[in-house]
């Protein structure tokens, strides 16, 4: 990265840096895998002209979602009851979404699907006999939808926790809300009309429905309604709509779901050296100590840690710590992850005592494998006679 010679560039850089250095993780981060629209879980004629001879008298869509961690995997099962009237047997090209494992049946018979060159959808040929007036079309998609609610900061930056512990840390923060689309087949405008539609969304009990979910909003219905059934293991939303056929029954919902999630997220190990702050006893000369610590993330803002520091001649100190983190955009590589906070150093041996600690540290991730960091501590131990301040510098590596 270089800065151009224009003066405004320098001004802009300074302003941008000044502002960006205060960037906090946003709770509205993106799922890694994006959904397709639910209308794509159904089937429609390739030619809208031919579709004008066919009416969907009943549509049923079931989205069944299972959770694996923060990932929600949904299968879909869509059934269309179609009314038509052909004077001669008619072969129709039907279209379905190009999704893994998709299966199309017409009147119980499986329809072979092919993907023509340059097409975004799969095609299947089905015969519609002239001596019948009804057909049932069924589409099953085992992997219809996958959405990821993992908490992440923006694409452009790494949280401090991840910068400090590149190999072991989870992304901190509350889980992201994901959007599950419910869109009935009328949205394709390929059928003459759709007179009745029902959609069901089943999702695990450990996921929560965000309050922003709108009520059942019906577009030109003659009757409509929705229910929200809850149980410990599974929850179900049901929408229903019917019209007189003059306008299609079109369901359109975006449901926001979020996994219930712990406030804590995994961090990782720190090992290093501490120099200064006295030796085996208060007031002794400076010396090296070994240091090991484990940290966990507190939402997006903090680090909770437990450190142990051991000097060669059996001085042992245990320090619970609480740090506030600061965030930097990832592309400012020269700028480290920063944290500053407080701790309670508990001298275990040789002379047990308790004090207070102020600490600050910087860390740079190295090739996403480990981090290198520097820091400083100021301990103040309390004895009956006086306060004993000790300053020390740290070099530490994070996993």
């Amino acid at each position: 990265m270089t800065i151009t010679s224009q003066p405004f560039a320098v001004l802009g850089f300074c302003l941008f840096f000044a502002v960006a250095s205060r960037v906090e993780a946003d709770s509205t981060s993106s799922p890694a895998l994006q959904p397709v629209k639910a209308a794509q879980f159904s089937v429609w004629p390739q030619s809208k002209h031919r579709g004008q001879a066919m009416t969907v008298v009943n549509e049923q869509l079931v989205l069944e979602c299972r959770a694996a961690g923060n990932i929600l995997d949904c299968s879909s099962h869509s059934t269309l009851d179609v009314a038509y009237s052909f004077t001669t047997p008619t072969a129709l090209t039907l279209e379905v979404a190009d999704l893994p494992g998709i299966n199309l049946e017409v009147n119980g018979a499986q329809v072979p699907l092919t993907k023509p060159l340059g097409s975004l959808v799969l095609n299947g040929q089905a015969e519609f006999p002239s001596d019948m007036t009804r057909a049932r079309l069924v589409v099953h998609i085992p992997q219809a939808l996958r959405v990821d609610a993992s908490p992440r900061a923006g694409d452009l930056q790494l949280p401090t926790l991840v910068k400090r512990h590149p190999t072991m840390a989870q992304y901190p923060g509350p889980a992201t809300a994901v959007s599950v689309p419910i869109l009935s087949v009328a949205a394709t405008l390929r059928w003459k009309t759709v007179t009745r539609t029902q959609a069901r969304l089943r999702y695990p009990g450990q996921w929560e429905l965000l309050p922003s979910v709108p009520e059942c909003v019906a577009e030109t219905p003659t009757q409509s309604g929705c229910t929200h059934a809850l149980s410990d293991s599974e929850r179900e939303l049901v929408w229903e709509m019917a019209t007189d056929g003059t306008k299609p029954a079109l369901l359109r919902q975006e449901v926001a779901l979020r996994p219930q999630r712990s406030y804590f997220s995994n961090g990782g190990l720190l090992v290093g050296l501490v120099w200064g702050g006295g030796g085996d006893c208060l007031g002794c000369s400076s010396a090296f100590r070994g240091r090991a610590a484990y940290e966990v993330g507190l939402s997006t803002w903090g680090l909770l840690g437990l450190a142990g520091e051991v000097a060669p001649r059996s001085r042992v100190t245990v320090i619970p710590t609480l740090n506030r983190v600061l965030w930097f955009p990832q592309f400012f590589h020269p700028f480290p992850a920063m944290a500053g906070g407080v701790g309670i150093p508990v001298r275990v041996s040789p002379n047990p005592m308790v004090g207070g600690r102020l600490e600050a540290s910087l860390a740079w991730p190295v090739a996403s494998l480990f981090s290198v960091g520097f820091g400083g501590t100021l301990d103040v131990f309390v004895t009956p006679s006086r306060l004993h301040p000790e300053a020390a510098a740290m070099l530490q590596f994070g996993l």
């Binding site: 990265m1 959904p35 965000l210």
Partner: protein
């Protein structure tokens, strides 16, 4: 030798009412992204790979308003008082565009956008942020997209109110505005491109916006067809409409029939328009018969070939790369090996802005690839490729020296006789320029393409129409 430009190969005359909210949404989103890119390029090394990657991530993160967008907005608002030097967008120009193409009432638009008489950009941005905050409070996964949609919905509510008195803006009114704009009077041939957004709407590129166009494509096409006949009959300007092809919703036979009955030298439509980033792939087998027909009849085709512009670029689908020249290669190869007495003439519009240096490899820009294909398909094998310069140099901060070098690069390879002049009217209006801007910058005596003969290229492309 260079002559006065009398042919504009690339204009849009369709009413924004075809898909009004989509148009405004794209304009707003595009303007914001373009300005943020401009700003970040200002402070970063434009050629660095990390910068390119960062800009791509920046584009993706806008709809969800992820970092660093909150801080970019914060900065833009804070910096808006600094003489506009680090300004993010130009609200006055956006408003000019809304009100021109969609006949929004200017005062009403200002009021809805929360702008005072000075049209401070901070007010505009804060208006957006207020809506974004509402979306975040509602736990929306896409707060910025929702904010933009809410803004657009408000704008069009105002449009509806005004439309009661003013009526719908017609294609003819858009034409009148065009032909009376500075510089346009010198044209005697104008290609009017139609754009079909019907299917793109069905794919819900814009959640929260209206779900169907106010006017479907066929109605828009009827209007443009009638206008072309009327304008051409008046004798001063020949208006050449190009029909936008959208295969979705048709089988191959229906598609061919639609084109054969309407497109040809002696038919209402004189050429075809493709907009692949709307979600149609050039290699779609249903198009084969149409391409054969165009080759046999030497019917010109213009396709969008730029990273910018409208298209399906939603949070769950992105067909922007369908506009890449590479996607045409299988089509071109097949036609080059086909027996035909005609010529398949395809214009890869915009030259992908021609702003990345051509003398060094660039994985992002398509300009080099366009040049390779133009060199390969030079007309000797029944396929002839062209490019146009529509929308080029629209931004004041485009590096003019690189553009000049690129023009020389194209001319040195003997391809300038297949470079066409176009302006992209009305897409450029938010930058507050006019036809004269393009005529002066790109051509004739003092422009970058001063050695190009746009007129000869247009004559060759249009085949004497």
């Amino acid at each position: 030798m260079p002559t006065k430009i009398t042919t504009n190969i690339h204009t849009h005359l369709f009413s924004a009412d075809h898909a009004p909210s989509a148009q405004v949404y794209f304009l707003l989103r595009g303007a914001l992204q373009s300005a943020a890119r401009r700003y970040l390029r200002f402070v970063l090394d434009e050629d660095a790979p990390t910068t390119v990657e960062m800009l791509q991530k920046l584009d993706r993160s806008l709809d969800r308003f992820e970092p660093p967008w909150p801080k970019i907005f914060e900065l833009a608002i804070a910096a808006s008082g600094l003489a506009g030097s680090v300004g993010l967008i130009r609200p006055a120009r956006l408003i000019d565009m809304f009100t021109t193409v969609a006949r929004l009432n200017r005062d009403e638009t200002r009021r809805i956008l929360g702008l005072d008489a000075k049209e401070r950009e901070a007010d505009f941005l804060e208006s957006l942020i207020r809506r974004k905050d509402l979306a975040i409070r509602a736990k929306s996964p896409f707060p910025f997209q929702d904010a933009l949609c809410a803004l657009v919905a408000d704008l069009y509510a105002a449009h509806e109110r005004n439309a009661k008195d003013l009526g719908r803006v017609s294609t003819k009114e858009v034409w009148t505005r065009f032909i009376n704009s500075p510089g346009a009077s010198q044209y005697d041939r104008v290609v009017a491109l139609s754009v079909n957004m019907d299917e793109a709407f069905l794919q819900e590129i814009l959640p929260g916006l209206t779900t169907s166009p106010k006017i479907d494509f066929d109605s828009q096409a009827q209007e443009l067809e009638a206008l072309a006949a009327e304008v051409t009959a008046q004798g001063r300007v020949t208006l050449l409409p190009f029909l936008c092809v959208e295969p979705r919703g048709y089988d191959a036979g229906e598609l061919l029939e639609r084109v054969q009955t309407r497109v040809g030298k002696d038919k209402p439509w004189k050429g075809l328009k493709f907009y692949p980033s709307m979600g149609l792939h050039p290699a779609d087998v249903r198009l084969n018969a149409i391409f054969d027909y165009c080759q046999d009849m030497s019917i010109p085709i213009l396709t969008h070939c730029s990273h910018g512009g409208a298209g399906v670029r939603g949070s769950d689908r992105n067909y922007g790369d369908f506009s890449s020249p590479d996607e045409w290669e299988t089509v071109l190869d097949r036609l080059a090996n086909r027996e035909s007495d005609g010529m398949f003439k395809l214009c890869l519009a915009h030259f992908d802005a021609l702003e990345a240096p051509l003398d060094s490899p660039n994985e992002i820009s398509w300009s080099n690839r366009i040049i390779e294909l133009m060199a390969k398909y030079d007309g000797k094998c029944g396929v002839e490729l062209y490019a146009d310069v529509a929308f080029d140099l629209i931004n004041g901060d485009t590096d003019r020296s690189i553009y000049a070098q690129n023009v020389k690069w194209v001319q040195d390879r003997g391809l300038a006789d297949r470079v066409l002049f176009g302006s992209d009217w009305w897409m450029y209006l938010y930058e507050c320029v006019d036809e004269q801007h393009f005529i002066e910058q790109l051509s004739v005596d003092k422009g970058f393409w001063k050695n190009a003969d746009f007129e000869a290229a247009a004559k060759r492309f249009l085949g004497g129409m």
